[in-house]
Symmetry: C2
Subunit: 302 residues, 2 copies
């Protein structure tokens, strides 16, 4: 009786082991942990980092087709394959919309991707990068070496601090502020608040521009609407634009643009400037076009 039972259980266990471990390639997929109607799965080779910092869970994967991939609290932050759209559009849109962007602040952006794009601008004299989580910088320098050299540029000062507290020291100082934050859960939550944007307004010069990671227009309509209403009250110009990023939820990421002086889509100073080199996504024509939104996104702002 024991023999039959043990044989029976052995065969069940073996069948289930095969199903779980060997059969489905699904085991090789990382899937973003979120509650959106659609999930993104990326085929991975290996999990090369997995630990919790003081602020968030940090995972790094090598993937089959997308290069290295950074994941914070279960959400894909960037892959080597498709990060250019995000980093170019969050950096070059404000920088090319401003005639002389000398002082730039990046809040978040510890991976160095936005920083690398900002440093392509010769008129930028000083970049301050304020990242709350030093572990993001450390891990990114290891797995995204294409961005790591930007941290040794003489124009950059990296600060490990809470961006919301850090910005309160400044008044009428930065020409451009880029909020390169993760989702409004966990440590980045405060970076979506009204108080933070009042501080941003105060830290900007009289013709300053702020651009922020602006979530998915498919999944965060209420957040984007409220945020835009607040920005419209504070700033002369408030607008929204977008870029295609297949590994982000819904395949598209928006950006909030607000400025004290310069309208979002004119980059009229570009004629007297040099276009940054090695662009994969940004073009001057697309700069304007990316503010022209599908009707269902426009309706958020009405």
């Amino acid at each position: 009786m024991y023999k039959i039972l043990s044989q029976f259980l052995t065969s069940i266990a073996y069948a289930m082991l095969c199903t779980t471990l060997f059969a489905p390639e699904r085991n090789l997929f990382f899937e973003a942990e979120n509650n959106y109607p659609i999930t993104i799965g990326v085929e991975v080779e290996k999990q090369v980092e997995s630990f919790s910092s003081s602020f968030e869970k940090i995972d790094v994967y090598t993937t089959k087709h997308c290069g290295n991939m950074l994941v914070l609290d279960g959400a894909i932050q960037l892959t080597q394959w498709d990060n250019a759209a995000y980093h170019e559009m969050i950096a070059h849109v404000p920088l090319l919309n401003h005639p002389h962007p000398k002082r730039v602040l990046i809040i978040g952006g510890g991976d160095g991707g936005t920083l690398s794009e900002v440093l392509k601008h010769q008129d930028v004299a000083k970049v301050t990068l304020c990242e709350i989580d030093g572990e993001v910088i450390r891990v990114s320098q290891k797995y995204f070496p294409e961005f790591s050299k930007s941290f040794s540029d003489p124009r950059i000062r990296a600060v490990i601090d809470d961006g919301a507290a850090f910005i309160q020291q400044y008044h009428d100082y930065f020409d451009i502020i880029i909020v390169d934050a993760s989702d409004p859960e966990g440590p980045a939550c405060v970076l979506y608040s009204e108080e933070f944007y009042t501080d941003i307004f105060n830290a900007l010069t009289a013709d300053g521009i702020v651009v922020a990671q602006g979530e998915s227009p498919f999944f965060h309509r209420d957040l984007i609407k409220e945020w835009h209403i607040r920005n419209k009250k504070l700033f002369k110009h408030a607008a929204y634009y977008y870029a295609l990023v297949p590994t982000y939820p819904s395949g598209v990421i928006g950006f909030m643009y607000a400025s004290k002086s310069f309208a979002p889509d004119h980059h009229k100073f570009l004629d007297s400037k040099q276009l940054p080199e090695n662009l994969h996504y940004y073009t001057p024509e697309l700069h304007d076009a990316s503010f022209i939104l599908p009707a269902f996104i426009n309706s958020i702002f009405k």
Copy 2:
């Protein structure tokens, strides 16, 4: 000894049973069957149809957040939640680019979504829809009732036939041809061939326009490049534009535009026309903007 072994195996089997059957909501996800670096998963409630027609495998799911979803040969064709972008952009871009689109041919499009958008144009006198698979029409009328009434419009003639053969009967006849095809695998393969486009050219009037489902600019660069080169040889104008569709691979779908007379992005006739009603995605400004491509897509065409 048997007792210990059986207890051990029982506990393993139980643990694995729990993991496999109860823990992951993953069982509720449909994932598109393709070989792209990124997979799209949609949370489903129930599979309500699953059978093979003479041409392809047809599945319909009810989903948790995206309404009903049609899947052909493992690839998501449409969901009730996000189909508007595709159907509006494949229909209104050519129709609003033409001063008097009277005769329209839709090849494929058995779900009726493109047809519904085409019929919003009062100047359209006759629409021929040529779908190879009658089962797609039957199933879609059941699960996408919002499109089904378009099949009873007096202006429409639905034909169950191979579009590549059907089009050879026509010469200098259609003002607009819309190729609303699935991927270049299975029955739609022929709809990407040079011969087919020569037949399309011949079937179009002297100022005719063709627009076709143009795959993902992230995943089908070679196909798009070759196709565009051919179209440029045949037609006066050849261009590419795109729309955001989260349930399609990479979250974006392109369209091939080719025309004997009218440039792609001017819709200069719009002033004298009425804009179709109930638009969720298309706007006249977006019409132009959707032809302005990110640098990495532009580079396909260089």
